[in-house]
């Protein structure tokens, strides 16, 4: 294998591909900006947090979410690419859920947003299925030895979201207050919902 020493920067390579396609008239006006807008403005873990808060406060919604998360998320307007088949994983006091995609980095974009770098890193992808308790502890979540862990590998078309346990001391809180407790990390399962 020859290793070129004059590799262009990723930025220069990206601009090269973009300009080559654009000069051939292949990129419709505004198409790239539309994707970037969706990725940065619409796909947001706050969407998933609202889904969780609704599930914590509305038992009928929670029932629908656990039976068919795709439709339940769509009720709140969260649907589309990489959200075609969503499954919600409900944490229980004695069993914790955590999500990974070991082979690439799939996530439910409409409810979790594009995944963060740690989720896409070889370290997380290689390690979390095999030693989840250790990885979670390193990332700040020290689960008791008797709490079971299920690691969900996103190897096909199902896109998962974790429904963390509702923290103690949040009785009577509004959906908005509750949603603020749910981070992207909690929706993936490397953290719990923030305590009240």
């Amino acid at each position: 294998m020859s290793t070129p020493t004059n590799i262009a920067s990723p930025k220069a390579r990206t601009e090269a591909l973009q300009s080559a396609l654009a000069d051939k008239g292949l990129i419709p006006e505004g198409a790239l900006d539309a994707v970037i807008h969706t990725a940065t403005e619409d796909w947001d873990p706050e969407n998933g947090a609202r889904v969780v808060a609704r599930a914590w406060t509305d038992p009928d919604f929670k029932k629908r979410l656990l039976a068919d998360a795709t439709s339940a998320c769509a009720e709140l307007g969260y649907e589309g690419i990489q959200g075609e088949y969503i499954v919600a994983l409900e944490d229980e006091p004695e069993r914790h859920n955590v999500i990974v995609c070991t082979q690439c980095s799939c996530t439910a974009w409409p409810v979790l947003g594009l995944p963060p770098d740690w989720y896409k890193s070889p370290e997380y992808r290689a390690r979390v299925a095999r030693e989840p308790r250790k990885v979670l502890k390193e990332m700040g979540l020290d689960l008791a030895r008797d709490i079971a862990i299920r690691v969900w590998e996103t190897s096909a078309e199902t896109r998962y979201m974790v429904i963390p346990c509702r923290p103690e001391g949040t009785d009577g809180w509004s959906e908005e207050q509750l949603a603020a407790l749910v981070t992207r990390e909690a929706l993936i399962g490397i953290a719990l919902a923030n305590p009240a």
């Binding site: 262009a8 220069a12 591909l17 051939k24 940065t40 070889p122 290689a126 095999r130 969900w152 190897s155």
Partner: protein, 211 residues
């Protein structure tokens, strides 16, 4: 392919670096690279998502591990624009002012022989064995569960079979199953009795196990 992308369970990786308040994209070119691939799939129909995943899997392992996520996206998408004859590598390198490394070519005989399974053969609670296949092309069955037996937790809808879709094979849809494996069945040296891994697997990848 038994490639570098199939990282689950591989040892030797260290701590996971975590960034507070991470932005969606760290640099503008990353957003452009992401959008070029999405437009390449959804608007230009240059390639599909399975061809895209496999183009990244075909990157030389050293480049794969050194590249950040969006450099892998860029490399995979550019490889497919070159392979489909839309642009040439020379043109890209001239425009970039330097080398533009691409993925390695597709294997000549990429698919394992797996009989299509249009009707769901398994149901919740069934014990299933993952076939120990090693196709030269794209597959979504991770190495760590091949040859292992697990339990079906859930039957998902039928989806396009990626091993075929990545290589221009006849379109086929099959159900996928959320199959739970005890960690201790996957790795003798790691995991505990109350840890498990659930893998989402297409019907073709599995065979039934008598209870």
């Amino acid at each position: 392919m038994d490639g570098i992308h199939d990282l689950g369970g591989m040892a030797g990786f260290g701590a996971i670096s975590y960034e507070e308040n991470e932005p969606v994209f760290h640099e503008p070119w990353q957003a452009t690279a992401f959008a070029l691939n999405i437009v390449g799939i959804g608007v230009l129909r240059n390639h599909n998502a399975d061809e895209y995943r496999h183009s990244i899997e075909r990157m030389p392992p050293v480049h794969y591990l050194q590249a950040c996520y969006y450099e892998r996206v860029l490399t995979g998408a550019a490889t497919l624009f070159v392979e489909k004859g839309v642009v040439t590598k020379e043109e890209l390198e001239e425009r970039a002012g330097g080398a533009f490394p691409l993925a390695s070519p597709n294997a000549p005989d990429p698919m394992a022989e797996l009989e299509p399974q249009p009707v769901a053969r398994f149901t919740k609670g069934d014990r299933v064995l993952v076939k120990d296949i090693h196709p030269a092309g794209h597959t979504r069955v991770p190495r760590f569960c091949r040859g292992k037996t697990g339990t079906v937790l859930h039957v998902a809808p039928a989806f396009s079979f990626p091993d075929a879709a990545a290589h221009g094979g006849a379109f086929r849809k099959e159900h996928t199953y959320h199959v739970e494996f005890a960690s201790t069945d996957l790795w003798a040296d790691a995991g505990a009795d109350n840890e498990s891994v659930i893998v989402d697997l297409w019907d073709s990848y599995l065979e039934g196990v008598d209870a």
